[in-house]
């Protein structure tokens, strides 16, 4: 289901693909656990320590959103991690149906909001967070500085 790969023959980049065909998040527990594990291993190998738990939770939240909402055309989600200038740069993307990002801005204001808590969590966990979405899919970009 998942094929973790270290690309470009370098330890400074991690690329993961995860099949997410079919409905229901529960069938993806093992692959999501593996993503957390792979991202954690990569971050640790790049000298991250205190930040690792924040990074892995943020990635899990991004992947969970894809599984629950995106319906990717190619049936996959993509996770890419790079390290540059002491920062880990993470992209989590899909080519699913996308959504109106503006909707989030209204609902995440309240702690008791039903939706958008995952987004709020990612924003809080990471130093930089951005999300773009449209007809060609959704990409979450996040950065975290190494302490």
């Amino acid at each position: 289901m998942m094929e973790p790969t270290h690309c470009n023959g370098s330890n400074e980049r991690l690329a993961l693909d995860l099949s997410c065909r079919g409905k229901g998040v529960f069938r993806y527990k093992k692959p999501l656990d593996e993503i957390r594990s792979e991202v954690k291993r990569f971050a640790v190998s790049q000298g991250f320590s205190l930040e690792v738990e924040d990074i892995t939770l943020a990635v899990q939240e991004a992947c969970k959103n894809i599984i629950q909402h995106a319906r990717p055309v190619d049936g996959k989600m993509h996770v890419e991690c790079r390290v540059s200038d002491g920062r880990i740069l993470i992209e989590v993307s899909d080519n699913g149906r996308g959504f109106d990002v503006g909707v989030l801005e209204h609902d995440i204001a309240s702690p008791m909001a039903i939706y958008g808590r995952g987004i709020k969590l990612m924003k809080g966990l990471m130093d930089e967070f951005g999300i773009t979405s449209g007809r060609e899919g959704t990409t979450v970009r996040m950065e975290k500085k190494r302490s």
Binding site: E61, M112, G118, L121
Partner: protein, 126 residues
């Protein structure tokens, strides 16, 4: 995840052990909401043995809070793990929930006082 339920000093005390995430939330909801539906006691969620929580886990805590409030029941949360507390603070639930640093304090204060206690402890863990 394991969930321990016991009655202490007139409170239902529910203690999830392990990870409270999208996979374990259904079991947690089932256990707690069954207690809420047959409510004779106020509720304390002892989260001191949680090792991980995600947005789904946070959502379950909010749902339980809302249901207890609707039933005019008291609910409090026991947290001593700075990591779990940090997650709650990121989504500002520390401003909504009654938080205690240990079960003894929760048992002592729930139903007796309003607002928050242990302010010094919680202000030290951001």
């Amino acid at each position: 995840m394991e969930i321990e339920v016991e009655e202490k000093e007139g409170f239902n005390v529910v203690s999830p052990v392990g990870e409270l995430d999208v996979y374990t939330v259904p079991l947690f909801r089932k256990v707690v909401l069954k207690l809420e539906g047959d409510r004779k006691h106020d509720l304390i969620l002892d989260l001191t043995r949680l090792t991980f929580i995600d947005s789904s886990g946070l959502g379950s805590l909010i749902e339980i809070y809302q249901k207890m409030n609707a039933a005019q029941g008291e609910i409090a949360y026991v947290i001593d793990n700075p990591r779990i507390l940090k997650i709650l603070k990121l989504v500002e639930l520390d401003k909504v929930f009654r938080l205690f640093s240990n079960l003894g304090r929760a048992l002592q204060h729930v139903g007796a006082t309003g607002g928050y206690v242990d302010e010094e402890f919680f202000s030290d863990h951001t």
